[in-house]
Subunit: 290 residues, 4 copies
């Protein structure tokens, strides 16, 4: 039943899962390159000792530590592969999913990403929209853009996207009529209007917001600029301890990542939004006075 | 900039977002069919009054209630379209995402789903694996299978999957060497071995578990049958109130859906798993005695 | 073993727990008064039929619905007794506890509460500080103050506190050298300075904050006014479904109540706070400019 | 305004809050003893340099590191004072509160604690029930009991409780007609019956349960033994980052402590519980067969 498609080949990403006990969870991700060698404190592993082996094989280091070798998942590569360089806080994989489901991101979508950063989410977006879609990613910092490009190259993702070096706040974007605009900037409210212009009617906007402070301004800008159906979600994932005699959530872990704002491009401002904005202005003034 | 692709056509799913205030959030999803009429307590809307309109247009009922019409997202259709019939608790959209990211479900994957249910997640899976992938979905109840089929027909999803009426616990599955097995059954531990056999080496398994009770048995069966890298996640999403003068999480909402178990097919049982199983057996015995 | 102290007496609060199945959870709280009658859709119960009965007795309505009668807990009385009138959103019982533990509220403490509201938390505070402590509660609205007073009368709490009708923002408080100041106002930042003056050295302040918007201003005011060890906590409680064959968290419930801010009175402003305030001012300016 | 009651005295617990920046949060708790010296990597502090100082004073180490000295809160002492020895996982302060509010633990209550452990929660219970209440705490391990006793001595808590060295599972408890039984054992279901016998009618039981596995058995035992109004709660507290320009929840922290089970002593078993137990038995059998 096992055929040649089930064997590791040069260029594949491999996840190594230790068969021995470790104090903290250890997962190595390596990219196979014939002739190369993987070093860790558990000893040396020849890449050529993995190439040609079936998925799920046991691989031993020269110190006789055993690992299971598996095809690595995208989120494992992004989080564990040494040559995928983190230059910014990435959009967490636990949020990739939430964004894609609730913004209905799918095959064929044309997407603008404002704030390339490390390129982790960009890689997921490119894979999701497929060959019939496209991702236009904007990054104002030249160095970051280079590293993000190199990161995607490392992943073997060479098509379906472009990274443009530009400060969108000052210079805007080129595309019109796109399906989705995704914003991950410290001051997202400054590009909401530009996002509106570049979206097709009914188009979807998503803003990734790490602090409370940014949320109010962003929501107000969306309300003012003809976005409707504004929704904000905050997700968290809890890991459960896998001990059959002591199953319980882990005691500690990530319990926050960001607020994720979703909305749709429209041509009107609902009365309720106007009222909310007026109420905000009034309350603001009242507060200033005191 | 707006072209003909931005207009509603016969057969499209439309989301109607009210422009007036409502006590509870209201979202209607309708499927356009020339000559038909949509009734609600806010009055009557002719489908022909929407067909041909641009996305994001304002639509009025005969009682002069105004709505924005938008192309509906998949999760909105599944949750709001009247002819998508719920016969079981569905896998929640907030979990679709988590499953697909952490099981790395993507274009081209061959997937077995055990427990079709209503077919909601099936529709998302079919869309995700695309035309180069395939989903084999098993359902033991004939009536459910029929309704699920009709649900996917309603969504316009006619290819890329098959629903087989069969009790997998008794009769197993036909496919071998698939990439992913997804299980949503009350007694998932009874099909773990069958899932192992049908997966390709390194293949991914996901089990969706709504109660504590089922979790221990499932994890133990995975440990016993050569699955490794077992991880369990529990996710929840909190909605944030969108009032610019009073931004805060909603007070009430969904705070649980299910435990989601992820693992990979391997050919060995790690020593740590054996120890855990032994410890469980010992503790179990000790407890029984008292 | 059961003695006369275990029997219901006139004036006691009784919790009635139905012994029959109900679709939604039902808990009645009544205050026993000889000669009175309790009406519900499950029939009539004579108070005199409960007075003199042992705690835990079965009580039947005239329609033969059975209930267990138990001494009611404080939080049950506050949330279920009809004559405890809600005029504002109360501090939730799930937060009473968090506040008291992390502000170390205990027997003997002198406490100022700014914003009496309904008086629910006041009742818990009075009970917690006991006869050697005291709670000075300020409420600017005369009507509210009256109702809160009546609520505490209903609970039988007649000593250990005073409700003063006053707008603290304008007129300040009378007490000095108190142990704790608790603030539950829409604009808490306006009384931070007054709170500082009324606290003893090292005294504890707690601010209850329902929205994001209020949090930033409050934290900044605390930093500016010589409060240190500032901590903010957000708690939530999840209810677990009690079905031995299907134990799992409830699907829906309260998942937010408020942000709770804790700090201590000091005479200095730590350098790190100054830096944070400067950084905030700078970022604010930068943002305004654009 | 500051009087002699506001000065540190021999025997007081002091919380030292650094006025300088530290990478991780640092809080020292020391117990003042004239003539002693406190050492840390930030230098030496003479206890006599604190004794007599006002609360909230600045204290400098010989290396010129400055701290604010504050009266320490109970939960800070338990978690940070070196001579309070942890021998078991303690009941977390975040749970002390939940237990006391929802079990209505208050002045005057007589309480049995089964499983003294480190004695942290015992100290909070003793303080809460006050001089008119009492806590009977059972611990089967002699060494643990000694350390717990020493811990309470260290806190200066010498009255209002007793620690009895006994295996309650085998030998039961002495008291009858108590108000509350609190259980923190690995196999709590083995003492449910004994707890029922020792409670007064309507009495409250609380069981602290760290894993899923223990929950089902415990709930079933409560149902079988005449406990009603069974409720299970799981709490969690999220810390918010206190930076006025970047307010957001901390990214990582504790997101689980335990399941807390609450119930009341009754003399009947509600029909719904019987049905649940039968359903469980049936499902259990059905599952065993397959």
């Amino acid at each position: 039943m096992v055929n040649d498609e089930e064997r590791f080949r040069d260029g594949d990403f491999v996840l190594l899962v230790p068969l021995f006990k470790t104090k903290k969870e250890i997962r190595f991700v390596i990219k196979l390159k014939s002739g190369q060698v993987f070093h860790s404190k558990f000893g040396v592993i020849q890449h050529d000792g993995i190439i040609g082996k079936y998925y799920g094989s046991v691989i031993s280091s020269h110190l006789n530590y055993n690992f299971i070798a598996l095809p690595a998942k995208l989120h494992e590569i992004v989080q564990n592969y040494k040559d995928f360089k983190f230059i910014t806080q990435i959009i967490y994989p636990r949020d990739w999913a939430t964004i894609c489901v609730f913004a209905d991101i799918k095959k064929g979508d044309k997407i603008i990403e404002i704030g390339t950063g490390t390129g982790a989410f960009l890689s997921y977006l490119v894979r999701t929209v497929g060959s019939s879609g496209f991702v236009y990613s904007y990054e104002k910092d030249v160095e970051r853009a280079k590293i993000a490009k190199r990161n995607l190259d490392e992943l073997g993702i060479r098509e379906g996207y472009v990274i443009k070096v530009r400060d969108v706040i000052k210079e805007g974007v080129d595309e019109r009529n796109v399906d989705v605009v995704f914003i991950d900037l410290p001051e997202p409210w400054l590009v909401i209007k530009k996002a509106w212009c570049s979206l097709r009617p009914g188009g979807r906007i998503v803003v990734y917001i790490p602090t409370f402070n940014q949320l109010e301004k962003t929501v107000m800008e969306l309300m003012r600029h003809g976005f409707i159906d504004i929704k904000v979600k905050e997700g968290f994932l809890r890991n459960i301890q896998v001990k059959p005699y002591a199953i319980r959530p882990e005691l500690k872990g990530y319990y926050f990542s960001a607020y994720i704002v979703f909305a749709r491009k429209s041509f009107v401002i609902p009365l309720s939004y106007v009222e909310d904005l007026v109420k905000h202005a009034y309350l603001g003034e009242k507060i200033e006075y005191k």
